[in-house]
Symmetry: C2
Subunit: 200 residues, 2 copies
């Protein structure tokens, strides 16, 4: 399998961490590409019309995206190693969705601050996205319970989202007043899967 | 169950159509709310920090989001009625992701054109999003195969995405040069699930 990825994409990192944790990373060839919302990478566009990473190309040429679909496919290959079954399933998938939503907001704020020409930036848009990030962090601090055993997709997604904030939004100070989340990130970031996939 | 929804949200409509098709709509109380990226709806924020619709609140108070997670939960309640099992699963989930990605681009273009103050609009951003929409439409025209039997989530998501283009991007002329997709939409839009959930 071939995975289109980017060193700065937190969604691609989530997939890579999941592949490490599920023991599948050796079956995946990672192809680093550069994509932005205002340019078209022809190599990626040939398999994914949205021209986003991550995109997984199976050996028969089938393209799978986005990161959620790839995670579910990896979970299938690994016999259910990444997404809990029965009742715990919905909480873990919801946690992943919350982390992805935090990242959607962070990416939109990043594009507003770093990609859009300065005279065209809109403070209320940035404020709205940062508000989503802060509220999601508060919800994680109040209610997120890391998995007791091997990491599940909720843990992985939240850890990658927090690490992206360290990477691009250090000035947000997400650890302030959030000791439980800080302790979770410190422990999770020490895992080999996270160490092997540092953003670049 | 209570579903926070909005008459203009294509993701909320996807969930409502799925609930109709799975025979679950009578178990769901739909609560119409208004949300935008630059305002905070307190009622929605109390259950979903991303303050987005759709958000499903279960009878025990558990909140599930986003639309993908809700669809998977409804599929579980309906005994696998919405997402195919085994090999067809990945294509259907990928089709849903492509339709959702088309809608992500459409919503960003919509916000650029209708929400952002006119002097702050960036043509390249709009062009980039519209390019994603056009490429996704071309991929659907070339490769999408509607389910032979009852609609699956890929069919539902694509139909809702096309209908959103009719609602907000009529000038895009998405039917031009895409006869297969046009025929699919005409047939699918006649279904009671689509008729009962027209955008407003």
């Amino acid at each position: 399998m071939k995975l289109f990825s980017s060193g700065a994409s937190p969604y691609a990192r989530k997939v890579a961490v999941a592949a490490h944790e599920a023991g599948l990373i050796d079956r995946i060839e990672i192809v680093s590409v550069s994509v932005t919302p205002v340019s078209v990478n022809a190599e990626v566009a040939a398999t994914n019309p949205l021209t986003k990473v991550p995109t997984l190309v199976l050996d028969d040429g089938t393209a799978l995206y986005d990161s959620r679909v790839i995670v579910e496919y990896l979970d299938h290959l690994a016999g259910g190693r990444l997404i809990p079954a029965s009742d715990a399933r919905w909480g873990s998938l919801r946690d992943q969705a919350a982390a992805d939503g935090l990242l959607d907001a962070a990416l939109l704020a990043r594009y507003e601050r770093a990609l859009r020409p300065e005279p065209l930036r809109w403070a209320e848009w940035d404020d709205g996205q940062i508000g989503k990030i802060r509220r999601a962090l508060d919800v994680f601090e109040a209610g997120f319970a890391p998995s007791a055993g091997a990491p599940q997709i909720g843990d992985i997604a939240i850890a990658c989202a927090l690490s992206y904030l360290d990477f691009r939004f250090a000035d947000l100070g997400w650890r302030d007043g959030r000791p439980k989340l800080t302790a979770f990130a410190e422990a999770f970031n020490a895992r080999p899967s996270m160490q092997a996939t540092q953003p670049a």
